[in-house]
Symmetry: C2
Subunit: 208 residues, 2 copies
């Protein structure tokens, strides 16, 4: 990893994702796809605000725009945080098996490596709540963008959860692992909520 | 739109997606998320190639790497093609209702605007086929990245399809519209194939 991931060009980020380097990987992709999902929600809000037809929702749309901006910024940061936490873990895997500190170092780095994916899941849950509300209050002209955002949010949530579970599974501290898994399981219920938006938007468009 | 979308920084692309401008929108996000999905497949291939343990698959992995590169490049191009086709459509919507050429121009621009999303769907289907094969032949160390790629591919396919249907629905040429919808429906069967990979990978990791 050189410099900040999110300052790379889109084509450059995709190329680095494809390359033989652990970072960026599935975790970084999850956070960035989450950021795109909430960006689509914000686009719908930006086309709704100020419109007479949606005047009754103006205050809500303004609030959603502020919240969406914060969630997007946080998810972009999490791409970097995920990458930063992965490097020490990959180094710990390289510690010789006979080193008596190996297990302890691996345990610590693995715990650190699941902090970012779990925080991604919390932020993506917020994105899904915003998309649900935007699906009700946003301009109907952009309903397909709400659906695209919801599809991306569902994928981001699933991808982030894989990066939680792949770490919890190798922990010796089962209490810590089970708490993280329980939180992840709770957040995974948002996947079907996002999918419900996709299905509703798709059905609405197809019924036109 | 200024310059090439995919040369923008990742944070800049997300900001433009969120802004009050029609392009980039859900179509561009679909193509880019599709490109990230196949990039993750390529990463797994790049960590598999040359490994003794997977020597029996070496030729297949090499082929998948080549195909993955092509699909990624094509999806990145489609972000630009989608943006380029959208601009004339947005202009056509601005033609005064009393202009006798309005309907004809709208029809033509709408047909043009669904070419890119439909081609995205074809490319994302190839990405899903590659992910299915990589899930069998790729290094098990990176199975979570196959799962993340599959989740992104499912989302990209659904998002691209919304951008097909939102255009077919307004066409007067019902023959053209129905052919496009039939092809999109066929390609949408890949969503459950991608979701099957996600479910299988998730179950595998959770059973560790």
């Amino acid at each position: 990893m050189t410099g900040k991931m999110m300052e790379k060009s889109c084509s450059g980020f995709a190329a680095e994702l494809a390359a033989k380097q652990s970072v960026p990987g599935g975790g970084g992709a999850a956070a960035y796809v989450g950021a795109l999902s909430v960006a689509l929600c914000s686009m719908v809000g930006n086309f709704t605000t100020g419109k007479k037809k949606y005047a009754e929702y103006e205050a809500d749309v303004q609030r959603m725009l502020e919240e969406g901006e914060a969630v997007r910024a946080r998810l972009l940061e999490l791409v970097e945080e995920d990458a930063a936490a992965f490097f020490p873990l990959s180094q710990a895997y390289g510690i010789p098996k006979e080193d008596p500190t190996r297990e302890e170092q691996l345990e610590k780095c693995t715990k650190d490596a699941l902090v970012a994916p779990l925080e991604m899941m919390r932020q993506i849950a917020k994105a899904i709540e915003l998309l649900e509300e935007m699906n009700v209050k946003g301009s109907r002209m952009l309903v397909s963008d709400v659906g695209c955002g919801a599809a991306c949010a569902a994928a981001a949530m699933q991808a982030a959860s894989l990066n939680v579970f792949v770490n919890t599974k190798t922990l010796n501290d089962r209490d810590f692992a089970e708490r993280a898994e329980a939180e992840a399981d709770g957040l995974l219920t948002y996947v079907s909520r996002a999918q419900r938006i996709v299905d509703e938007v798709t059905a609405g468009i197809r019924a036109l």
